[in-house]
Structures are given as C-alpha cells and as structure tokens.
Symmetry: C2
Subunit: 405 residues, 2 copies
C-alpha cells in the first residue's frame, strides 16, 4: 500500500482523488503499488461524501502519520502551504504540488530539504497543467543549452483574448463571459494582470538556467489595456494577440518578460486558443519544439500530479536531482530586452507621420479605415531606445511588443 494525503480538497485536490480512484488498476499495473488516499486536509467536513471519513483538520495528523508515504499539496498560496510542505519533507515524506506560487517563491529551498531527507519534491502540475513541461525540461531536454522558452501559460487570459479576437468583444465583455463559464475567478487580477504567468515563466527560466530566477524581477504587464482597435489592427496584419511569458538565455543572462504580444501565423503558439496553453522551447541542438495541452482544469492538472506520484513510487528511496540550485540568476532589466514594436499614434498628420518614419527607419505603416490614428511596426530595437524615441515623438496611444520573425 502506498498512502497519499491530499492538502486542500478544492478543484485540483478533488481531481487527484478522482484520478487515483478512476485509474487505480492501471496505477497498480504501472507501479506495482496499491495507491490510496489515506487522509485529506481541509477546513470543510464534507458530510455524507464518500471521502468524509478521510478528512482531517490538523496538519499534524498527516505529518505525524508514518503510514503516509507522499503528500499532495493543492492548497495554493505560500502560507501555510510552505510550512506544511516543509514539515512533510522534514518528516521524510515525498511531496508533489500544483502550486506555482509556492514553487516560484520556495522551490530551491524545498528541493534542498528533499535532498537532505532523501525524498522527492516534484511540481509537474505547477506549470502548464497537463503539459509535461517540467519533466521535459529536466529530463528529456537535460542535454540542451536553452536559447528561449516562451509560452501561453494562463488559460483564463488566453480564453479572453481568443474571444476578443474571434468575436470582436471588448475586454470587459470577454472577461465576464469567462467568469460566467468558470474560466475566470470573481477576482481575476492574478490572471489578467499577468502575475500567474510571471510565476510560471520564472519557474521555467529557473529550470533552464539551473539557478533562481526571482519572479519579482520579471517585468509583468497584463491584458487589461488591450482593446478592440488593437485586435482590428492585428486582424488587418493577420496577427493575433496573446499573453506571453517569455525568457531568452544569452551569455549567462536571462531576458524575461510577461506581456501581451502580437503573434504571426507562423509562430508555433499562434494556434493555441481558448483555455489551452502552449510552451515553445528552443535548444541549441534540439531546435524548436512545442508542447500544447490543457493548462488548467481539474483532471488534466490532477493527471500531472498523479504522474509525479508514479515517479515517486519508482524512486521511493532516492532523491532525483533537479539541477536547480539556490544561486541567484541575473535577470536583465526590461529596458535591455529587444523587440519589434507595434505602436499606435494619434491623428494622421502627414508631417508627424514623416517624423515617425524618420525616427523608426525600417518601420512599416498600418492604416485602418475611418480611424483618426495610424500605427507603425518597428524593426528590432532595444526597449530603452524605443521608449526614448517614443518620448521624443509624443502622441502615442499605446504600444504592443510583437513576435514577428
């Protein structure tokens, strides 16, 4: 018998219970172990549910239970999740978590404890839900020098942007549809402001470099200012607008950001729509590859947690090294990153247009019928140079970075 305890019986936690129950015979066949949920920590009682008898309210009942082999943390947040996970590891239990906030804030610290106690701390479900990006980066692509990892890492914002693109809805309308369908929370800030994506790209960039990329150092811009006119321009140029978490690796430096970007059709992530996620990885030998799937949702995320449980059963007496150490990774300031920019300017004054064209010599102009404005798509420029030019010109409505080859 391999006993598991689940901390937090919300969407993902109850999904883990369901996957373990539903695919139990298969799990036994694959691992040789009878995997069972022995305890569930939650503040609720769940009277008359089939798991009622498993519920406990005190973490000690799990930490001090020597029959529990592994702990699944699906509470979210950093406290008390951090303390609970730390104590579970210290008590010699393996842990898997779906909690990106926890991994982004305390990943290396928890990996260190796991190593000392010769157990495993896994977190496949913390990024990309059912997309096996963590195991792919750390195992399948272990021999690669990474050049870029970039992804659509948040299903809520991708759903909103897909609706805006396909149906011409404005942000508020698309958000409220997403909320009605349960794709966005009532307080959607963590998603729409890009904070969720920021933690996820920080984790991926950390694994790519093997060092700590502090998510607080990653420039983060949400999608709340994207409007229907932006999508009209995008459509005219055969582009779409997606929220990217992006990281490039060059000469020991990480260039990372979270922001809406205009994407062209040839980009592997262009076709990632609705609540799906996609992650593109470029390695020095591998070239470009892409993983696509359900980035969130009860069962896909639970499936990733269960994959970790399977890996734990196969490595019960051994700590699997992640090659991610407690050493600070330098992150370049956003002003040092380079992009091709889409910029909207007020008015259609010929003299001003000419001045803009002189400033951005290799820019392409874009005009939409019936709008008292115009737009440019610049060549590749450093953000600090671009912003200085914009500042000198004035009359800027907004700019959006692009992913155009």
């Amino acid at each position: 018998m391999f006993n598991v305890a689940i901390l937090g019986f919300g969407t993902v936690g109850s999904g883990v219970y369901e996957v373990i129950k539903e695919n139990n015979a298969l799990l036994k066949q694959k691992t040789g172990e009878d995997i069972a949920v022995k305890k569930i920590l939650d503040i609720r009682d769940f009277p008359d549910s089939e798991w009622e008898s498993l519920v406990v309210h005190d973490i000690k009942e799990i930490i001090e239970d020597n029959d529990i082999d592994a702990v699944v943390e699906t509470m979210g947040g950093t406290s008390p999740a951090f303390e609970f996970v730390r104590d579970a590891l210290l008590s010699g239990k393996h842990v898997t978590t779906s909690n990106k906030a926890l991994v982004a804030a305390h990943g290396t610290e928890l990996l260190k404890i796991a190593k000392e106690k010769n157990v495993n701390f896994f977190f496949e479900a913390s990024v990309g839900g059912g997309i096996p990006i963590i195991r792919t980066l750390t195992e399948s692509y272990a021999g690669e020098h990474f050049k870029e990892i970039t992804g659509i890492l948040n299903g809520t914002t991708n759903y909103i942007l897909t609706k805006m693109d396909a149906e011409g809805e404005d942000f508020e309308k698309a958000l409220s549809t997403a909320q009605e369908l349960g794709y966005a929370e009532r307080n959607p800030e963590a998603d729409v402001q890009g904070h969720d994506t920021c933690r996820k790209i920080a984790i991926l960039a950390s694994l790519a470099t093997g060092k700590e990329v502090n998510f607080e150092e990653i420039y983060t811009e949400g999608i709340t200012k994207i409007d229907t006119t932006d999508f009209e321009y995008a459509k005219y140029m055969k582009l779409s607008i997606k929220l990217f978490g992006d990281s490039k690796f060059e000469d020991g430096m990480v260039y990372a950001f979270v922001a809406p970007v205009m994407v062209e059709r040839d980009h592997p992530l262009y076709m990632v729509n609705d609540v799906f996620n996609g992650i593109m990885v470029e390695g020095n030998m591998l070239g470009k590859s892409m993983l696509y799937g359900s980035g969130a949702g009860k069962l896909p995320t639970a499936s990733a947690v269960v994959a970790d449980i399977i890996a734990i059963t196969k490595n019960k007496d051994k700590n699997i090294p992640f090659g991610w150490v407690n050493e600070k990774q330098a992150v370049a300031d956003m002003s040092e990153t380079s992009h091709k920019y889409f910029v909207r300017f007020k008015g259609k004054d010929t003299q001003f247009i000419n001045k803009c064209k002189e400033t951005f010599k290799d820019a392409k102009e874009v005009y939409l019928d019936g709008k008292d404005e115009f737009a440019l798509v610049t060549g590749l420029m450093k953000e600090k140079d671009f912003l200085m030019d914009l500042n000198n010109l004035g009359s800027v409505i907004k700019y959006i970075r692009t992913k155009i080859a």
Copy 2:
C-alpha cells in the same frame, strides 16, 4: 568517465558525437559524469577526421570492451542492428537507439534482455526525433488510459504535402524538391508509402497498450496518389491533407491505420508543416495534448539519443521498467475502423448525384468550378459499409479519410 560507443556514423551517429562534444560541460554538470565517445563502429575509416582513431570495424571490439558503459545504435535496419544490440545488452551494456525498425520489430525482446541483465534499453529517438514522446507516454502520462494517439510522424511526406498545399505543386515535383533539399532519399519508398510512419505508430500504440502491436497488421497507405485536384477540394473546404499515423484504443482493441487524411483547421495537427512532426495524445484524464518539433534531422534526433544517455547515467545500476510486455495486442481490421470520408465521383449527372445522396444520407456535396466531377463528405461510417456502398455506386475517382469533428 562514462564511455559510449556509437554503432553507425551516419547522420544521427555523427550528430550524437557532435552533441556530446558541444554540450560536454553541461552534460557533466547535469549527470556528474564525464561522458566520452570511446569507439565508433563503421565500415568507413574516416582518414584525417578528428574521430579517426576511434573507428573500429569489428563489433567484438565494442562488445568485449568492458570500459564501454553504453552503446548508441544509429545504424538503422533490423540486421545486423538487432544482433549487435542484443549482444551489447547481453554483455551488460546499456543501449539507446534511434532505429524505429529495430524497436517495432524487436522492442519487447530487447527490453526483456535488458531487464534480465539489469541494464536499460531506451529508444526516445526512434519516434518523433527531438519530440520527447516516448518519455512522455511512459512517464508523464503513465497514469492515463489512452483514447487516441495520432501523429504526423514523417518529415519527408509532411514536407511534400506542405509544398503541394502551399504552392499547388504535384506530387512528383514536390518529391523532387524534397530530394534536392536532402529531405527525401533517392529511394523515397519507405517514407512516401507510409512504412516509416507505420513502424512509428506501432511503437506508440504498443507503449499505450503495454502490449505488442504488430506493425504488419496496421493498414498502411502512402501519399503517392494524392493529386493537385485533391488539394483544390481541400483548399475549397478550408482543410489540409496530411499523412497520419493514427491509433484509437477502445475495449481492449486497437484501431490503427496510416493514411493521408483531410484535416480541419481546428485540429491541433493542422499547423504542423514542412519537415516538422506533431503528435496528439488524448487520455481519459488529461484530455488532448500535443507535442510538436523536429521529427528528424541530425541534431534534434541526436539530442533525443543524448537525453537517453543522460537517463542511463542516472540509472546505471537499475533497469527502468517500460510496462511494455511480450504479449500480442489485438489490432482491428481496417474494415472495422470508422471515418468520415471525402469521395470524388466522375461526372455531374444529376440522377447519379441523387443516387449518391440517397446512399450517403448525411453527406455534404462539394463542387469545384470547371471539373467534370463532384465530391461528397460522408458522415461517420464503418469502412466496410462505406466500401460496400462505393462498390454499388461505381464511378469513384478516389476517397480520402478525414479528421473532421
């Protein structure tokens, strides 16, 4: 020192040499081992090359060398590759191969020997080149009951079909371009007749079921009969034509085939163009996911081999079970599979068209200007019923299966 021998110094073999050399410091950091190529088996001598001194012509010099820890088999074909790999495993060496013919024909037998000798037989590079599909199926998705695995698994044919689609070229022209660019071999039969794809989908279906799917039982149709008119219809219907290796899993039965299919834009594999490969996996908990990348090519394939070498260094004293056993998996006859069919009929006789519409009640008609023919897209039907109907109707130009929801 962790010593590797490479069998066959062609495209992939020399790529493995290059990746080990180029990313050597990284490999040491990730594995703690100094990985080196100690010997290379080839019929050639490579005078004046930097690896000249490593070349041997007799497999015994490798099998009997106790300093060699792992053998990389990149010769291709089943003989003598099978005998060489078998003997390497029997001598207690780990093996990784990029050879799908070997894995499809002898996979379980070699896994059994590896298990008995407590070494590993890995084959990540045998399917999908740089796409980590083997490890994803056997580790990340180990807890899934699979519903479908379907893929664009051959870069040569995908390049040809992409050219035909984008530029209206006929098959012969696109093939000769592919040959000029080195994407197709001078004798392209294994690719264009679908045999390469057949072996790959057999391996994936085997891993999904954990049993032996005999590739000889998988219906296999190539792309040589696809013509420019097919693509005109496809374009008109906003579809593309791709060569799929497809496998569905239902009630213990595998429904598998290799054939060109008409794919709609919403399908995750629609955007897989040029020499790229893509594999879609649907699991009972996971939902749909997709992996995309370079399916062939020197360095991407070599990168997958090196990922196996890394895994071997981490599991030097331990056989990793694959859950793939020497037990026959039942494969349904093609006549039992179900599809929506695109069918072209000669002429435009109203009476005949009506007869066709009566036969295929839920079919949609398609007419192209200036053609003395018409087409139907049927509803979902069993292949044997479809073929019986076609036989009764006559006047068939051709049919193509579709992937339309």
